[in-house]
């Protein structure tokens, strides 16, 4: 088994197939296409958090030089799909994405209320500042803690008692309360923003009255295509979505946002292609965020380290107009062997914009509380937290009562503990020093569903021996094209340099969004399938060949290597893929295959990826300055297709986790319901100086129950568990337990 997965191409640290485009500036992101007669659009945002527009004066803006249109709820083209749903005799739509320019209602501060279109960017920016708006102001609610009592069970859970977001009890409810050795702690995560480096952008181009092309920053080309076709009441095939390069997203490209429709409306109105790029401030208000969350964990354990009960509660923020939920508590149900587990999840609607999954999504939020609580519990019973986790390791899924497809978390823990030097850690905090700095070690575990969806890949083998594959997936950074090329190279026996994988266009066969760490399992399986069919087709061609040595050949007794087919028994007789096609007078061989997960296997097995993160921190006792000095991130993510890009993804998750733990957090001025942290000078994402050496290690054992390539996702588990590892290390260094992120020096010094 092992040989198969580690020969040839799969696993190799191959350079990215699009590396050259990215280092030369040739890679084109959504705002970078040149269209004739293109106009520029700039959004005007509301300056109140709740109320309605009393009057909107656009005269000065309209008369400013170069302005082509100023559109708002009074004069905007009504999106047909919107109008239907907002019929005046029907109740206002509830639980729907924000519909732009539909009425005068204001739901959050900086809600897009007008779009200014001009012939140049400078002119559009200037004119946008001339739009004057008066409001009827209503009292807004934006302060999470003041409104926390208004949290509710999500509607999806209310409607369906079997929905996973309902309250969950295994064993006895809240059993920890009556146990002698217990902890009970509250944890807070502030709103965090994805802030990919590429600003959200779209070029909207109506090529005909009912034919729309968008160059859009999205993680889902097919999802975006369907959404716009429905909005505008035009056939799906009349909407083309291009997202060849996506400059990061981390989840905020998983939703269609108001600015996209604003640009499409504008393009229709001025009858020109329109480019709209959000400003960095607008990235904080218009394209989602990781929701502010409050959590409480109660836990009890025996003196010898057996967890007896866990209760985990969470409340996550959402908007007043759309219910956003995430899987914050899932891991608490399956991660540890506790016989008694209770979880309760609620959401809190506020006058803010809607959140969206941000890397690791709810699991990263949940892991912060659960993994800190584990550390607290281990400390109470005086046990090493690694040993405590090993004792409570689940060998099967206690929630679903199913075996794991694969689980190599213990191996990952051993690798990581050795690499970080866990033995240097002392049970008592503050015992290890480096000069005047206090040194601490901490760990955190992450898990995320090893998801897989349905995808279709078209492959065309040309007579020059090159293979071109196409699928409508995207690559927001992990290196999807590179991984797909490696999977095809491995499965077809063709050198990777002869393979091209094209993605990011709705013209290609459908794939789901790039989200939920599912791309390689999903699209990679379709690549695997298409390669198997290509091999069969090539085999039947050579078997019917006049060259008698191949007569009656089967896939099993042939070897496919380096672009040649040979008889395994006598390798000297070989034919190149191209020659096989030429003999058949075929210019090319085209195959399209779809691959879906096996539903019956998903009934029999529980499938998860796992990570464990180890952090070494140093804390200055007088200033509270915190430095992460070393990090080791280990993953059980099945087969690793590309050691280089997979390792990079783990490193990136660790850096994101450093941000979560130490620097990132929204601050809102609740008098206005407006963020004070509105740009990258106020909202601190980690910079070079914040990132230490980070080692990423993989168990690298295939999960063939999940998919034929044996992969499990990496993107989410790379960040899930990092923040608690750092928080736990800070406790180990200082004896101070900070349960509200980010852990800034002021919080540390106030304890």
């Amino acid at each position: 088994m092992k040989d198969y997965f580690f020969q040839d191409t799969v696993g190799k640290p191959m350079d990215r197939v699009d590396g050259r485009q990215k280092v030369t500036g040739a890679a084109k992101y959504s705002a970078e296409y040149e269209l004739p007669n293109m106009a520029h659009a700039v959004l005007v945002g509301s300056t109140i958090a709740r109320g309605s527009i009393k009057s909107i004066d656009t005269k000065r803006a309209e008369n400013a030089p170069g302005v082509l249109a100023v559109l708002h709820y009074q004069n905007s083209i009504k999106v047909p799909g919107y109008v239907q749903e907002a019929h005046p005799t029907e109740p206002k739509p509830a639980g729907k994405p924000l519909q732009v320019f539909i009425d005068n209602q204001i739901h959050f501060n900086d809600q897009p209320i007008a779009v200014v279109v001009a012939d140049t960017l400078e002119r559009a920016m200037y004119a946008a500042k001339l739009v004057k708006v008066q409001y009827n102001v209503e009292k807004h609610a934006t302060d999470f803690h003041q409104n926390v009592s208004k949290a509710v069970l999500p509607t999806v859970a209310k409607r369906n008692p079997k929905h996973g977001l309902n309250d969950y009890v295994r064993g006895k409810e809240d059993a920890y309360k009556t146990e002698p050795l217990k902890i009970e702690s509250e944890y807070v995560i502030p709103t965090e923003f994805h802030n990919p480096m590429e600003l959200q952008s779209i070029i909207a181009h109506w090529e005909a009255d009912n034919k729309l092309t968008v160059y859009d920053k999205t993680q889902a080309v097919i999802g975006t295509q369907n959404a716009f076709a429905k909005d505008w009441g035009i056939p799906v095939q009349n909407v083309k979505v291009i997202a060849t390069y996506v400059g990061g997203a981390f989840g905020n490209g998983l939703h269609t946002w108001p600015h996209e429709t604003a640009a499409i409306i504008a393009a229709k109105k001025v009858n020109r292609p329109v480019k709209l790029m959000l400003t960095r401030e607008q990235m904080f208000t218009m394209v989602g965020y990781r929701p502010h969350a409050w959590q409480k964990v109660g836990m009890s354990a025996t003196k010898d380290g057996k967890i007896t009960a866990i209760t985990h509660e969470a409340i996550g923020q959402t908007s007043s107009y759309e219910e956003f939920t995430e899987s914050t508590l899932q891991q608490t149900r399956m991660m540890y062997t506790s016989p008694n587990v209770t979880t309760r999840y609620r959401i809190l609607p506020l006058n803010v914009s809607t959140p969206i999954w941000m890397r690791g999504p709810g699991e990263a939020t949940g892991a912060f509380a659960l993994e800190c609580a584990l550390d607290e519990m281990a400390y109470v019973i005086g046990m090493d937290p690694l040993e405590f986790r090993l004792i409570n390791h689940t060998d099967k899924d206690p929630e679903k009562n199913l075996p794991w497809s694969t689980k190599y978390l213990k191996e990952a823990m051993q690798m990581g503990a050795e690499k970080i030097g866990w033995r240097k850690r002392q049970l008592q905090p503050g015992m290890v020093k480096n000069g005047e700095w206090l040194v601490g070690y901490g760990m955190g575990v992450g898990t995320f569903g090893a998801n897989r969806g349905r995808a279709k890949v078209k492959a065309t083998l040309h007579k020059d021996g090159t293979l071109v594959m196409q699928s409508a997936t995207t690559d927001i950074g992990p290196g999807t094209g590179t991984a797909m090329v490696q999977i095809a190279a491995q499965n077809l026996g063709l050198p990777p340099e002869k393979i091209v994988f094209e993605l990011g266009s709705s013209l290609y066969p459908p794939s789901p969004s790039q989200g939920g760490s599912a791309t390689v399992a999903t699209v990679g399986s379709a690549v695997h399938a298409v390669c198997q069919v290509l091999k069969k087709r090539l085999t039947s061609m050579v078997a019917g060949n006049s060259d008698t040595s191949f007569k009656g050949a089967t896939v099993e007794n042939l070897t496919f290597k380096d672009g040649y087919v040979s008889l395994t028994a006598s390798p000297s007789a070989r034919l190149s893929f191209g020659d096989i096609l030429k003999q058949q007078n075929l210019p090319e061989l085209e195959v399209t295959e779809e691959s879906s997960p096996d539903a019956s296997l998903r009934q029999k097995y529980s499938m998860y990826s796992y990570s464990v993160h180890f952090a070494e921190v140093q804390v200055h006792p007088l200033t509270g300055q915190i430095r992460v000095t070393n990090m080791v991130s280990c993953a059980d993510a099945g087969t690793i297709i590309n050691a280089k890009t997979a390792g990079n993804q783990m490193i990136g998750g660790a850096v994101g986790g450093i941000g979560m733990a130490l620097t990132e957090g929204a601050i809102m001025d609740h008098r206005f319901g407006r963020y004070v942290t509105k740009d990258l000078a106020e909202y601190h994402v980690p910079v070079h100086a914040d990132a230490p050496n980070i080692s990423s290690l993989f168990v690298n054992k295939p999960d063939l129950i999940n998919n034929p390539n044996g992969t499990k996702g990496i993107g989410e588990i790379a960040i899930i568990g990092v923040a608690p590892a750092i928080a736990n290390a800070i406790f180990n260094a200082t004896g101070k337990r900070i349960r509200e992120l980010p852990i800034t020096p002021d919080k540390l010094m106030m304890v």
């Binding site: 030369t24 480096m197 400059g247 950074g477 993804q649 990132a691």
Partner: protein
């Protein structure tokens, strides 16, 4: 060619150009007087003029003529004074390798070299770069041969999504030239103006170290 976008506005160097500049200044003064007159007019007259007011203010913003050396080629351009070097490169010259990540000088994605120094093009008015040599990511390679820093970024996978990459590379080249790449910590400090949200920082540091230690000419 990008400069063909403004064929009528090319200026001869020297006296003629200066004369036109002076004319422009005179026009500005004239129009300023008109504005003053408007401001002093009775409200009714102001009301009547209101619709044209913005147009007149804007007319005062005459185009300025600049000559920029961009990736080794001299370009004579006519631009609005408020146009940033970043927007000039991206929106008018279609050199989109230079990225807009914040427009406030906070992220480094727009880093270019101006006369060999790393500069944030979003904080630089294009007019301020008149007569200067600008190198963007598109001008870093020698034809098909990549710059050693570009090679090193590919080898060490110093990026994921690729959006910050041109800025990181331009900054990295300058970081070595400035003599600020003598240790990991020094590289981290002097590269901290370039944010990589994908978090490829350790790989970027390795790429810079390789170029520095490889004795490549940057």
């Amino acid at each position: 060619m990008p400069q063909d976008k403004f064929p009528d506005q090319h200026l001869p160097e020297g006296e003629g150009g200066q004369a036109q500049h002076s004319d422009a200044r005179r026009t500005f003064l004239k129009q300023s007087s008109l504005l003053t007159a408007l401001a002093l007019a009775p409200p009714a007259a102001l009301k009547a003029a209101e619709l044209k007011f913005e147009e007149k203010v804007a007319a005062v913003f005459e185009q300025v003529k600049v000559t920029l050396g961009i990736n080794g080629k001299k370009q004579k351009l006519s631009i609005e004074p408020r146009t940033t070097l970043l927007d000039l490169l991206r929106e008018q010259l279609h050199l989109t390798g230079t990225k807009k990540g914040c427009d406030y000088g906070q992220c480094g994605a727009c880093t270019v070299h101006v006369d060999g120094q790393r500069v944030l093009s979003c904080l630089t008015l294009a007019a301020m770069a008149d007569g200067k040599e600008i190198t963007t990511i598109e001008g870093l390679a020698n034809g098909d041969k990549l710059h050693p820093m570009q090679e090193a970024f590919i080898k060490h996978d110093g990026f994921q999504c690729g959006y910050c990459t041109p800025g990181q590379i331009m900054s990295a080249v300058a970081c070595i030239k400035e003599g600020h790449a003598d240790s990991d910590d020094e590289i981290r400090e002097y590269m901290s103006g370039n944010i990589c949200r994908c978090g490829a920082y350790p790989n970027i540091v390795n790429a810079i170290k390789e170029v520095k230690n490889g004795g490549h000419k940057v």
